[in-house]
């Protein structure tokens, strides 16, 4: 009965204030790209069919995210063509998958690459090949357009995400001191992208405490500074500063010194890179091919996927490393790999809310929200006039225990998450419900590697990260955290290492 009364009041008030007032829209949508059923089949060792055909390849790449595609890119570029890439989902790209509707293409997860520094030579090589870097100049239309970022705090928007208004003298002093510290760490050359090139035992102490504890030990107690640090860790690692190794917290800031105002981004995020890679490598890539077992056969391997047995001499294991013990015959369980659960959503907007506030901005963050805000997929459009758009909403479920958060992701229905997202947006855009026509939601139980305390200098991680032998691990989680450059580096070095082995 309560709905009837509510409806009555709504229609009565609508009649009262005139019919031209717009009501809330009906919002369509669903969960998309769910893959945990597949993962759970592996975990629970479900019965898989016997293979009915045999395919022989020198190399099988397991996993079609950036690491796997980069291994393929490298092999192909060196004229090594005797390989196949197997992807369990119906779309390659992993965390760089994308979607497209009648409004625009949009990302499902990773949506940018910071302008790579001089050490990221493979990223630069790829970007030269893709026309992103030409004669030492970064292509302007792939750099994030002005205005890049804004933060909602104290009921208003400011430019940039680092809090800049309402700072006390003590806040300013702590931000300055942190910047000085970061500058010193940067000068040591031990924090690099890719991380393997700079990693030094002399920084191992930093991996023994959490970033939150390190900040406290430095006397950095400013709540604004701590909010910002926490935001950065949630954004890049899906973890709070308390769940992040101090080494990783410092790496976030000390590893980069961009030569150009970036980052690099595209409407479909890093899906743009995947698209370009698939144009070159599509014939090697088999989607909807879940590998369910890898068995040793003499010197080589037998890879079981669906109805096919792939016989290979080398494996590039580019899927998340935590899956390896479930697939690989005789592999011991892993202990040092942890992952952060995430939720992303793509919201189709029929128009921007009246409460938008500033010129259209790429990345929009709200102070003290559990979410990471939203990114506008049409921001990189060359058009001067955009009315409909898609916002990609990011939410790392970083507070509390990951396993409980995974349960929450699984157990709550679409409408629960839809409302949670809209509630968060309503704090900033009270009229958002009158703009949104569709919300599609993607749930990822193990979205990205979490660089918890001890993860970086973990012996387990460092051993698996050695590119040697006939099974080469290549996922970005071997760097301790999931970013594009690390995934690409691991993929390329795995490919190089196996080509050396093949050459003998």
């Amino acid at each position: 009965m309560s709905t009837t009364r509510r409806e009555f009041l709504q229609s009565a008030s609508a009649a009262l204030i005139g019919l031209s007032i717009k009501g809330d829209r009906v919002i369509a949508g669903s969960f998309v790209n769910d893959s945990f059923q597949l993962g759970h089949q592996l975990r629970d060792r479900a019965n898989f069919p016997q293979p009915t055909q045999i395919v022989k390849r020198a190399v099988v790449i397991v996993g079609g995210g950036i690491a796997g595609l980069s291994a393929a890119w490298r092999l192909h570029k060196k004229d090594f063509t005797d390989f196949v890439l197997l992807e369990m989902n119906d779309q390659a790209g992993g965390n760089s998958r994308w979607g497209e509707n009648e409004v625009t293409a949009y990302p499902w997860a990773a949506h940018y690459v910071p302008v790579p520094g001089p050490k990221a030579i493979y990223v630069r090589e790829l970007f030269e090949e893709l026309g992103v870097l030409k004669n030492g100049q970064w292509e302007e239309r792939y750099l994030c357009f002005t205005p890049q970022e804004r933060l909602f705090l104290y009921g208003r928007w400011q430019d940039g995400i680092e809090p800049a208004i309402g700072l006390t003298a003590a806040d300013r002093d702590q931000f300055r001191r942190l910047e000085d510290q970061i500058q010193k760490f940067r000068a040591t050359g031990k924090f690099t992208v890719p991380m393997e090139l700079g990693l030094s035992d002399s920084t191992a102490d930093l991996d023994r405490i959490s970033f939150a504890d390190w900040l406290r030990a430095q006397g950095m107690t400013s709540s604004l500074l701590n909010w910002y640090m926490n935001y950065c860790c949630r954004d890049d690692y899906g973890a709070t500063t308390g769940d992040t190794s101090a080494w990783a917290g410092i790496q976030y800031f000390a590893s980069r010194e961009p030569e150009e105002k970036g980052p690099l981004t595209w409407p479909e995020g890093n899906g743009w890179i995947v698209r370009r890679l698939l144009e070159r490598l599509g014939s090697y890539v088999h989607t909807d091919r879940m590998v369910h077992r890898i068995l040793k056969r003499g010197k080589g391997f037998s890879v079981l996927a669906g109805d096919t047995e792939y016989q290979a001499e080398f494996i590039v294991f580019a899927a998340p490393t935590f899956m390896a013990p479930y697939l690989l015959e005789g592999m011991a369980p892993l202990h040092d790999f942890e992952y952060s659960p995430w939720l992303t959503a793509n919201l189709t907007l029929e128009h921007l809310p009246d409460s938008y506030g500033t010129d259209p901005t790429w990345d929009n963050v709200f102070m003290d929200s559990p979410t990471l805000g939203y990114v506008d997929a049409t921001h990189q459009s060359l058009r001067s006039h955009v009315d409909r758009t898609v916002w990609t909403f990011y939410w790392a479920l970083s507070e509390g225990i990951s396993s409980a958060n995974r349960q929450l992701l699984l157990n709550r229905d679409w409408s629960y998450w839809k409302d949670a997202i809209l509630h968060d947006l309503e704090r900033v855009h009270p009229d958002i419900r009158s703009c949104v026509s569709r919300i599609d939601i993607m749930r990822m139980g193990h979205a990205m590697a979490r660089p918890k305390v001890g993860a970086i200098f973990s012996a387990e991680r460092r051993t698996l990260a050695q590119p040697r032998g006939r099974i080469l691990f290549a996922n970005s989680d071997l760097s301790g955290f999931s970013i594009f450059e690390e995934a690409q580096y691991r993929g390329v070095t795995a490919a190089d290492s196996l080509m050396r082995e093949v050459a003998g």
Partner: protein
């Protein structure tokens, strides 16, 4: 019954204070000097409340009936106060007079409310309870209103709609009172009908509030408005004063018919006359057809492609008799091809080549327009230049927006073009600047079409000389990822207006 009565007190206290705050805020917005505005408004308001209280003793009979009427009146006067003040500021000289008159009327009515109400209910309670409760809820209402006003009402509703909303609440109180005091009312039904009618009136006002603010803003235009339309892309306004027609796009002046010939002759002829045999011309922006009118003075030109975002704009300048008289029906020429498209994607995907490109966009007042002034855009546009091709760019004022002007010139240079900056005086604009850009050298033309009123062969060299107060400034280029131009333009105009 008791609590309902006191909620009535709370609501009317809130309404009264909201009207006062709205008047103070509006006066501060529109006139400045917020200390003066708030002080005088609060003073007048409190004084008027005193008058109201004093007048209450002359009301002997029909207390409830008069109370309902006071609430109704307050709802109407208070509810429409903000809209009235906006319109008064836009259309009349008497803003302050009206404002103080409204504040006094509202103050008197609010001053009447509480004494009347206390007398209506005095038989129901002890006198000391009446005083204590009424005043308590009166002050609570004031607190609520003073918190609601800055936190919710101003940011989310705005001043016009907030006033309407509280007007509705006031009338709601009137309606409610007809039930509360039904026994003391002879003609409750008639009053109720009036309440509902007034409420609908305020409701319509609430729904149409945006129109009222737009109407008020329109009157920043000094002259008679002969055409106004909100298109999907912009707000088009045409004004006329005697023989002067002016076009405003989203409140920015585009031309005045008295001197636009200076602008458009200067935009087109220095470049176009310097091209030996121009055949194909591209105009980006320029939906008024005035640049095309100048281009049609070259009979050897085969085709003119005009790309303008807004179909309403090009339709208006193809059909409106007053405007086609101005552009000499240029859009009706068979040589002209009109394409309604967003310029950057069009330039980026089209592959045609042109001998002359006119780039005549609105000033870079925001980052969306700023994209059309970037190295990326100029590179894309320059790919359309034929071997002998030149392009000319509307580049804001080297006088009032000197940083912006030289930033645009630098951006063209950075896009790999040779640049030839020049400027003209257009009375309705002031000093205005253009840049000719090309991959080749530019030399001044030695002949021009007949019948020009401003540009002459003798006068041309002077246009390319910049006196010291407009001379080049070192500026970085405007890039998609670092739009320095929009910030510079904003700053330039702030410097001029302060």
């Amino acid at each position: 019954m008791g609590i309902l009565l006191f909620i009535t007190v709370l609501l009317i206290a809130a309404c009264g204070l909201i009207y006062e705050l709205i008047a103070g805020t509006l006066a501060s917005y529109l006139l400045g000097d917020s200390v003066l505005q708030f002080s005088t408004i609060i003073g007048c308001y409190l004084f008027a409340m005193g008058i109201g209280s004093a007048l209450s003793r002359y009301i002997d009979r029909g207390l409830a009936y008069r109370f309902v009427w006071i609430e109704l009146l307050l709802g109407v006067v208070g509810g429409f106060s903000s809209a009235l003040l906006f319109l008064a500021f836009a259309y009349t000289q008497g803003f302050q007079l009206l404002m103080y008159a409204l504040v006094i009327v509202i103050g008197v009515l609010v001053g009447l409310e509480i004494p009347l109400l206390m007398r209506i209910i005095r038989d129901r309670y002890h006198f000391r309870d009446v005083v204590a409760h009424v005043l308590t809820f009166d002050y609570l209402g004031a607190l609520g209103a003073s918190l609601l006003f800055p936190i919710l009402l101003v940011p989310y509703l705005g001043l016009v709609r907030s006033a309407m909303l509280f007007g509705i609440i006031n009338v709601g109180v009137a309606l409610w009172s007809t039930f509360l005091f039904a026994k003391q009312l002879a003609s409750a039904r008639a009053l109720r009908i009036i309440c509902v009618v007034v409420m609908c009136g305020l409701g319509i006002g609430l729904a149409q509030a945006k129109r009222i603010t737009i109407a008020a803003e329109d009157n920043i235009y000094a002259d008679e408005i002969i055409f106004a339309r909100d298109t999907r892309y912009q707000h088009i306004v045409l004004t006329r004063f005697k023989d002067d027609i002016r076009l405003f796009l989203s409140s920015h002046l585009q031309f005045s018919s008295r001197d636009e010939y200076r602008y458009h002759e200067a935009l087109v002829h220095p470049g176009l006359s310097a091209i030996p045999a121009p055949r194909h011309v591209l105009v980006l922006g320029g939906g008024d057809g005035l640049a095309v009118r100048e281009i049609l003075k070259y009979p050897q030109i085969d085709s003119i492609t005009l790309v303008d975002l807004d179909p309403e704009m090009t339709r208006l300048f193809s059909t409106h008799p007053m405007l086609t008289a101005l552009n000499k029906k240029s859009f009706l020429s068979p040589k002209v091809h009109i394409i309604n498209a967003d310029a950057f994607p069009w330039v980026d995907s089209n592959t045609d080549s042109f001998d002359f490109i006119v780039i005549d966009f609105p000033d870079p007042t925001n980052y969306s327009l700023g994209k059309l002034y970037t190295t990326a855009f100029y590179k894309a546009a320059a790919r359309h230049l034929s071997a002998q091709g030149l392009m000319v760019v509307q580049s804001t004022s080297p006088m009032f927006a000197r940083d912006s002007y030289w930033c645009i010139a630098q951006t063209l240079k950075q896009a790999g073009l040779r640049t030839y900056p020049y400027h003209v005086y257009v009375p309705s604009f002031g000093e205005w600047g253009f840049v000719i850009a090309a991959f080749r050298d530019y030399e001044l033309p030695t002949s021009l079409p007949d019948g020009l009123r401003f540009v002459s062969v003798d006068g041309l060299p002077g246009l390319f000389k910049f006196p010291p107060d407009m001379s080049p400034l070192p500026m970085p280029p405007n890039r998609l990822n670092d739009q320095v131009l929009v910030r510079a333009y904003d700053q330039d105009w702030k410097d001029v207006s302060h």
